[in-house]
């Protein structure tokens, strides 16, 4: 594998990582020209290096704590492990857990998940999209060929049929976009961090963790901390002098995650 790295900012090192290779001479501007698929790159683990961006949670103790935590975790992660997109299906997205140091590995052996007091793993999201421009180009090319062969433009039905075939063909050639987000869980302090910037993705990982491990995660927001500390909710209405208007705490106050 080429030794190219993606910087935390996402910029690519030139040279082996440059996917925008010149087209072969004489090739037409067709999307079906046999391009070389970009190699799967070693990714920087945010937990180890790169941008430090994470959401903070506390893991609520489970009512029935598993007797063998290591086995329970391995089994839970395996049950919701990442499975690549089936190109023959209609699916254009796949998500699941992978090992921290290898986004293609889903063995979750103890040595690859437990790092001292930490449990470390990742959540991988692959999405496959056929670019609209490529689709358009390919359709135009097909229409031209059809007209040249049949001396008539294609009918609507023929176009629809061709469109489906071209889409499937382009799907098999498209490279999925991969996003890998790390999860670090300190077993001692029961603090869990999801290393992602997008709230939407964070929420998807929370749901995946709930499903895989039955974890209950509480976001470390001031409201949640106040609730845990047993502070009376009535004492926490908005401060009118600071907000600039009287805004009584109403039923509109919905706890995060309950909305």
């Amino acid at each position: 594998m080429d030794s190219c790295e993606i910087t935390p900012g996402g910029s690519k090192d030139p040279g082996p990582c440059n996917f925008h290779r010149p087209r072969p001479e004489g090739s037409t501007k067709s999307a079906l020209t046999p391009w070389l698929a970009p190699p799967i790159l070693p990714r920087p683990m945010p937990v180890l290096r790169g941008a430090v961006t994470f959401s903070r949670f506390r893991v609520e103790p489970a009512k029935e704590a598993p007797s063998d935590i290591k086995r329970w975790l391995t089994r839970g992660l395996k049950a919701h492990a990442f499975e690549p997109i089936d190109r023959r299906s209609e699916d254009d997205r796949a998500a699941g857990f992978v090992e921290l140091e290898n986004a293609d590995a889903v063995d979750f052996s103890v040595g690859r998940v437990f790092y001292g007091e930490y449990v470390l793993f990742s959540f991988r999201i692959d999405s496959l999209k056929v670019p609209a421009s490529a689709m358009k180009e390919e359709m135009a090319k097909w229409s031209t060929n059809f007209e040249a062969e049949n001396d008539r433009p294609p009918s609507r039905g023929e176009k629809t049929q061709a469109k489906a075939q071209i889409k499937q063909m382009l799907r098999t050639r498209a490279t999925p976009r991969t996003n890998v987000l790390d999860v670090s869980w300190n077993q001692k302090t029961q603090q869990l961090q999801i290393w992602a910037a997008s709230r939407k993705v964070v929420e998807e990982i929370i749901i995946a963790l709930e499903n895989a491990l039955g974890l209950k995660l509480v976001g470390l927001t001031p409201a949640a901390i106040a609730q845990t500390s047993g502070i009376d909710e009535n004492a926490l209405g908005p401060t009118a002098e600071l907000i600039g208007m009287d805004l009584p705490a109403t039923s509109a106050e919905v706890a995060h995650g309950e909305a």
């Binding site: 430090v52 994470f54 910037a197 964070v202 927001t221 001031p222 401060t239 509109a252 995060h256």
Partner: protein
């Protein structure tokens, strides 16, 4: 009236979009009002105002340069720096962003705070002993973004991983300690009687602000002592 237009008018009437006089049954909502409604919902949802009040309070307290809380026996100093985003529900402005190294403590920002905007996101430097951390905090979830950690001391990769995780937890612990301190004051008697008036005076840049500040600091000390006993 042409047949097609008549059919359209009949359909609009059937849907209830227009009355018998052909006038719209519902007035279109004012865009500004819709925006304010959304801002209000955002503020109340999950008690997000608590996070904004926390960051605003932190900005006020940090101006003295003193350590604000203690973590593992060492004081934590806080300094706002660079970009700061304010959000509000009261006036015409629902969001305001200021950029500049000293922007968070500028008169313009204080003036906006006085008008009812609160700190929604800020770049903050945390100093804990000799260690310096920097992070952008958002008020709603207290998520940590683009944080800079102190330089790693370890050389081995495995040790570096543990050290990096330890440092992120230290940063998280500092945030939790500040939240804890804020909540203690927020539910105390001094919040509305002394702390908020002192903050308002500071926002207005009153000469008396400094006095109010020390008065509030004394009140905080009293509250803290009372909480310990």
């Amino acid at each position: 009236m042409a047949k097609r237009e008549q059919a359209r008018a009949d359909a609009a009437f059937a849907r209830g979009d227009v009355g018998v006089d052909g006038a719209a049954t519902e007035e279109t909502q004012d865009v500004a009002e819709v925006e304010r409604g959304q801002a209000r919902e955002q503020l109340l949802r999950g008690r997000a105002y608590l996070g904004r009040e926390l960051l605003t309070w932190l900005l006020w307290r940090s101006e003295t340069g003193d350590a604000l809380v203690e973590l593992e026996g060492t004081g934590v100093n806080v300094l706002f720096m660079g970009r700061i985003t304010l959000r509000g529900v009261a006036g015409d402005v629902t969001e305001l962003s200021a950029k500049g190294t000293l922007a968070p403590y500028s008169e313009q920002v204080k003036h906006a705070l006085d008008k009812g905007l609160l700190v929604a996101q800020a770049r903050i430097r945390f100093t804990h002993g000799e260690k310096e951390y920097e992070a952008t905090l958002d008020s709603e979830f207290l998520d940590v973004r683009a944080a800079k950690l102190p330089a790693l001391m370890s050389e081995e990769e495995d040790d570096q991983l543990n050290e990096r995780l330890f440092l992120t937890e230290q940063l998280s612990a500092m945030i939790d300690a500040l939240v804890g301190d804020f909540l203690k004051i927020r539910v105390g008697k001094t919040w509305s009687k002394q702390v908020v008036p002192a903050m308002k005076e500071w926002m207005r840049g009153d000469e008396q602000g400094a006095n109010a500040l020390s008065k509030a600091a004394r009140a905080r000390g009293r509250d803290a002592r009372a909480a310990r006993h």
